[in-house]
Symmetry: C2
Subunit: 335 residues, 2 copies
DNA sequence: CTCAACTTTGTAAACGCTTACGCAAATTAT
DNA sequence: ATAATTTGCGTAAGCGTTTACAAAGTTGAG
């Protein structure tokens, strides 16, 4: 059952059938009705493979997400999809996992489906700057790339980022200026964004004349990214005699773990321990008192991604790099 | 950049290039290496639509998710994707939003991108049973549909569910059997799964000879699904004089809200108030004490979805309905 | 060396659709 | 009434693959 069968049964040419399919105006209402009737009667469904071959644009944007399980990225997906849809674009999402080969596959999968552009989420993609990672350059030759929370200078690649460095620095300064001396820094990701945050923390310390102490900086791998794991880790740190009066972290959930540590070791928040989280997610509201958290304006960033993409696709030029400032949302966990 | 360009640059015919693409054995190793090298160098990605025109399958599964922002569904995405990928299938995700028109669009989008099958996540899709919702039947005529956590009897539709009714009933009974009398039931979703949970709660009460009291059953809309909102709501309930000694809910986050209510009103958990959550998500570990929660075996369910889909696609027959039992994970929030 | 059998590669015809182009017929303008 | 324009439709040329079939090349036995 194809367009030829329909054209024959309807007594018209395949071009007319195709025009009916595509809602072209160059068909008389009478013919249109007739062809539609025949299609309905025959239960005809156009073959999308063939369709895609002919069309140049599918009005589809590919979203590449390294980890859909991350609530922060999941939220980004929601925002991006909503905004693209509102502008007449469908989204195709490929959640690849963090391994490089998976990401390459994800990019190729989306390209093979002829997306008009791609949004790459999360700075896991940043290693494209490294030599030998040509897959992004190649992708950029075919369609515009917009990177969310990652910076990458290349033709046809556009970046939308939040200034994590400055945000973490300001959070650190805010803790110091409220009288804290020993700020524990907990982080999860060693990617570009993670490194910027860490650098911000260090810059914050130095801006107030304090040294960078390695014993205050701790990394949490994927399997340690849970509230109990962080709680237990801080308990053991305290047990070993480490003194700290504030915790700053790169993800809210780490700070929730810190809050739980405070609870079980009967340290009052914020009097005895100040805590600041990052992302201002729903985790920040789980604690008592609620967590002060860095809001990095995810929705704003996503909307910027979309408008950048739309500009590029419509031939207008767009800024290669768009930077937003994060905002420290103060709640009960800090003085 | 197409197969002709590659064939030209590699000095072979398009047939040979195609054979390399498809891993055909009828190519000499030397030629294969050479062609692969040229493809890599040129960043060539085959056009999936042209491909699909010849082959009949794109080796791609569509995942339909009503809300990627929901950590529970986000986790499901991760599990599904991992398992499909391990079996040679790519995944395409469409996060539609909950509105019916969005879901219809999502289904059509995936069909138009030529997926070999679709997994529909979350029982928001259940309303397909209602009259006039033919889009699922139509989709099922084209590709097999596997529904995760939703039941729907129809040709070419397969269901994988957890027995929410029984799980909620057992959780209720467990509370009653530990001496609780007045169990507050908080729920978010009115979809099929939500109704089963509610019915399970009611059945649990009746199995112990207790009446169903409307003043103990409370619905939380999307915008009330936050810890502070639930906390405040329970505070106001208590202020109005309602007595309750346990909280059971349809989502962990609602129970976190209950825990926070307990905290601010100085009721001890579990002595004065028992709390049970649902989904056994990371939220359950945020509280002190940690929440007892119903673990509905998401990973097991997802794997069942994948193996069901693979069976159907390979022509074997698969069970129309697969049911797993949830498990009550006891932690500190219950006696 | 010859011929058969097998391996490797190439040619060309689908696959089902879109669309540029062209020609009638219908409509409007002159 | 004739010319100019618009409308409706058909023809045919792609779109980028796959694959049947054919051709050419290779190997080994006689």
């Amino acid at each position: 059952m194809n367009i030829y069968d329909i054209s024959e049964k309807a007594g018209v040419s395949i071009a007319t059938v195709s025009r009916v399919l595509n809602g072209s105006s160059r068909v008389s209402p009478k013919t249109r009705e007739h062809v539609l009737a025949v299609m309905a009667e025959q239960g005809y469904v156009p073959n999308a493979f063939a369709r895609g071959l002919g069309l140049k644009s599918m009005k589809t944007i590919g979203l590449l997400c390294p980890n859909a399980g991350d609530p922060y990225l999941a939220l980004a997906i929601t925002y991006l999809e909503r905004a693209f849809r509102a502008n007449g674009y469908d989204c195709l999402l490929s959640c690849t996992g963090k391994a490089r080969s998976d990401r390459v596959k994800g990019v190729e999968l989306l390209l093979s489906k002829l997306v008009d552009g791609m949004v790459l989420m999360g700075s896991t993609f940043l290693e494209a700057n490294e030599s030998g990672n040509k897959y992004l350059q190649n992708a950029a030759k075919r369609v515009p790339l917009v990177m969310l929370n990652a910076a990458y200078a290349c033709e046809n690649v556009y970046c939308v980022v939040c200034d994590d460095y400055r945000a973490t620095m300001e959070a650190t300064q805010s803790l110091l200026d409220s009288g804290r001396k020993n700020i524990l820094y907990l982080y999860h990701s060693r990617n570009a964004s993670g490194q910027k945050k860490l650098a911000g923390y260090q810059a914050g310390l130095q801006s107030r004349g304090l040294p960078i102490r390695d014993d205050l900086i701790h990394f949490f791998a994927e399997d340690k990214m849970s509230v109990p794991a962080v709680r237990d880790f801080l308990l053991s740190l305290a047990h070993q005699g480490l003194t700290f009066d504030a915790v700053l972290s790169s993800e809210d959930i780490l700070s929730v773990g810190a809050a739980k540590y405070a609870r079980v070791s009967r340290r009052s928040v914020p009097e005895s321990l100040s805590i600041i989280g990052y992302n201002n997610s729903s985790f920040a509201l789980c604690c008592e008192p609620e967590l002060t958290s860095v809001d990095n304006k995810l929705e704003v960033l996503c909307n910027a991604c979309v408008s950048t993409m739309l500009s590029v696709l419509s031939g207008k030029d767009a800024p290669q790099k768009t930077v937003y400032h994060a905002e420290l949302v103060k709640r009960g966990s800090t003085l």
